[in-house]
């Protein structure tokens, strides 16, 4: 039972301090308290499982390519296929989250892609290999539900951190799998299986992990701090929104498209490297499978701190300099990632390559975290669609990059890596074009027009008809909470808040 009195709410039931939307204003990593931190742990673990499955093949490619008689072109195509499925899946997932809630959306996707991972064990030709990698890649759409869930559970001061840690620890799967799969393979082979059978058995591990994580999400998770979508919609606390409106307001927001492009050149690059780096080290430096796997893993493992670091940095910059700080930091870090990518393609020795790769991984992954410090503010009504567009853009970047630079035998891998670095720098420039009337952009300050407030920005997504029905309440609360994106210099200024008449609860 809730006691409501003119807008002031009693919150004895939350373990963490919350704002007016019941989103947590603190992020406590070592707590598993429902609903906020529990949602965090469920989302990053399930996302981690999907990453492990999607990138389970690359570290075992030296075995698989002999078993299935693959050529370099086949391998390149499969790599492209593995990240292209998620392009539209992420957009669809964004919409599904807006409409059905992240819990059901992500668990459904995970349980529907788990069979494909099981079927990888029975692949027997280049075509079947490509198909299993393509469909397994759909599971990377859980990234969107992760970010959406975190943006629903955590408030502006910590949303970048929450998004960054959840995304980063999930992406960790791409690195962990480079260690796990060769290990599991080695174990099974030593027990007595032949190489060409051992890798097939090894794939059961990621598949089972994925299935179990989906069960956990369904059993223990909830969509919003106040409960699940279905229940809240029944009781009238959450309005059921229309797909066409949500979708329209998402895709007509140009900021979403710019972020989609730039995310393609931090996250897309990360996916590309996940696909090619183990083979790169194995072939170029004549390493053992195990060793190449460990080095490749360290790229993905940097995600433990690099992406969260990006999120934390975004929040810190946001606190001091507002949205402009978030944008400048994002551009700087991503451009530096491009510089180190160029260097990675140029160095010739093993130790230099490893060192440069690690530095490069920090910058590229931090840029991913920084991107999702900006995304939650682009739209409130269509948060899922914007997250989906940005996330999908990441995969498009991976597809395009692998198509141009890493397919077949046209460029050597080293040349491809250098060219990819140049492309990162070029594709980060559009960030200069992002402008929020209430907060400004990289070159321009906030507009001084009277209609340039947070409320105006977020209310522009609702028609007057919808406002009459009171559908915009959640956006209004969000607008109020997002005022701190003006930065510290105006934080002390008290602005007239458009007080809303309390809706009937």
């Amino acid at each position: 039972m809730e006691i409501s009195s003119n807008g002031a709410e009693t919150q004895p039931k939350f373990a963490l301090p919350v704002d007016s939307e019941h989103k947590a204003t603190e992020f406590r990593l070592f707590s598993a308290a429902a609903p906020h931190m529990r949602a965090f742990h469920l989302s990053w673990v399930s996302f981690f499982a999907c990453f492990v499955s999607t990138f389970a093949a690359p570290p075992l490619l030296p075995i698989i390519r002999d078993n299935l008689n693959l050529t370099a072109t086949d391998i390149g195509n499969a790599g492209i296929a593995s990240v292209s499925g998620a392009v539209f899946a992420r957009l669809a997932m964004g919409t599904a989250c807006d409409l059905f809630g992240p819990r059901l959306a992500s668990a459904s996707l995970i349980l529907l892609t788990a069979p494909v991972v099981f079927f990888t064990s029975i692949a027997s030709s280049p075509v079947s290999f490509l198909l299993v990698r393509f469909f397994t890649g759909f599971s990377l759409a859980t990234f969107v539900s992760t970010q959406f869930w975190m943006s629903s559970m955590f408030s502006a001061p910590v949303v970048g951190t929450a998004n960054g840690v959840a995304g980063g620890w999930g992406n960790l799967g791409g690195g962990a799998t480079q260690l796990i799969m060769p290990l599991v393979f080695g174990l099974i082979r030593d027990i007595g299986a032949v190489k060409f059978t051992a890798w097939r058995i090894a794939f059961f591990i990621p598949a089972l992990f994925q299935t179990l994580s989906a069960f956990a999400v369904l059993l223990f998770g909830q969509d919003l701090p106040d409960g699940n979508y279905k229940r809240l919609q029944k009781s009238g606390d959450k309005q059921k929104d229309k797909f066409s409106r949500v979708f329209y307001h998402g895709i007509t927001n140009y900021r979403g498209w710019i972020l989609a492009l730039t995310y393609g050149y931090c996250f897309g690059v990360e996916l590309t490297i996940d696909n090619i780096i183990a083979e790169y080290f194995y072939d170029r430096f004549n390493l053992k499978l195990h060793t190449a796997g460990i080095i490749a893993a360290s790229f993905g493992l940097a995600n433990i701190i690099s992406r969260p670091g990006g999120g934390i940095l975004s929040d810190a910059m946001g606190k001091r300099f507002g949205m402009r700080g978030r944008l400048w930091t994002l551009w700087t870090v991503q451009t530096l990632g491009g510089v180190f990518c160029i260097i990675l393609g140029q160095v010739n020795s093993l130790s230099a390559s490893v060192a440069v790769m690690i530095i490069f991984s920090f910058f590229v992954q931090a840029a991913c975290g920084l991107t999702f410090g900006v995304v939650p503010f682009v739209s409130r009504r269509s948060l899922g669609v914007i997250s989906g567009m940005t996330g999908g853009g990441g995969n498009v970047g991976a597809v395009v990059t692998q198509l141009i630079f890493f397919k077949g035998s046209r460029y050597s891998k080293e040349t491809g890596i250098t060219l990819m670095g140049i492309m990162i720098i070029c594709c980060s420039l559009p960030l200069f074009l992002i402008y929020f009337p209430q907060w400004g952009g990289m070159f321009c300050g906030p507009s001084s027009a009277k209609t340039a407030t947070e409320e105006d920005y977020y209310m522009s997504e609702w028609s007057s008809n919808e406002k009459d029905k009171g559908l915009h309440e959640a956006s209004l609360k969000f607008a109020d909470n997002s005022r701190r994106e003006r930065g510290r210099s105006v934080h002390s200024q008290t602005l007239p808040s458009n007080a809303t008449p309390p809706a009937d609860v």
Binding site: R65, N67, L111, P115, I122, V194, A207, T211, N348
Partner: protein
């Protein structure tokens, strides 16, 4: 900026030095003093089942004492050019330390001055490809000093095809199908359970 240039140039210089330290034996410097033959049954050979009979020995037209430095003989299964197309991990390089042509060892034993034969069952990790057989003679420091192969210099004659095992088993297939079905069925089960809970008008 200057510091970054300095770091970059020192990294590049060190990597150049590292290159020079690696071995210097090239394939074209080896003499073809060994005669190698490989015989097998007709048709496509199956890995794990069929056998190849390999015979090798010193080519008697070379003067005596040619093999004075040979200590070990290493016989290998090597990829024919057709199986190297679009597969950079099987590439032939003149620099022996970088050469990836021969990736499977048939036998490695101390060198003896007589002609030797071996019947070798094709191992189960050999992939589907076209192969030939090459023998390297190694000296006491394990450096390659001579070679012989059952095909010509252009690697066009006496090649044979091997078919790999699939690695699949009926039990694996069944397990895959069962677990997949379980995932999908349990998802449907969850949806039903949710609908029932919602239908009861739960608070």
């Amino acid at each position: 900026m200057a510091a970054r240039v300095l770091v970059l140039s020192s990294i590049l210089t060190f990597s150049c030095f590292a290159e020079i330290c690696y071995g210097a034996v090239s394939f074209s410097s080896l003499e073809r003093t060994l005669v190698v033959t490989a015989s097998h049954r007709q048709g496509l050979l199956l890995a794990g089942e069929d056998k190849i009979t390999v015979a090798w020995g010193l080519n008697q037209s070379f003067p005596a004492g040619t093999d004075s430095t040979y200590r070990t003989i290493k016989v290998q299964l090597c990829y024919a050019p057709i199986s190297q197309v679009d597969r950079a991990w099987r590439k032939t390089e003149d620099h022996l330390s970088k050469d990836k042509t021969c990736q499977f060892k048939i036998v490695e034993k101390p060198y003896s001055n007589t002609n030797e034969t071996l019947e070798w069952t094709i191992e189960r990790d050999v992939p589907t490809a076209t192969f030939f057989v090459r023998a390297y003679a190694l000296d006491q420091h394990n450096n390659k000093v001579a070679y012989g192969q059952n095909t010509d210099a252009k690697k066009t004659t006496n090649l044979f095809d091997i078919q790999a095992i699939t690695g699949r088993h009926a039990s694996l297939d069944i397990a895959s199908v069962c677990f997949s079905a379980f995932s999908v069925v349990s998802l449907i089960g969850f949806f039903f359970a949710e609908k029932r809970k919602g239908g009861k008008g739960q608070q």
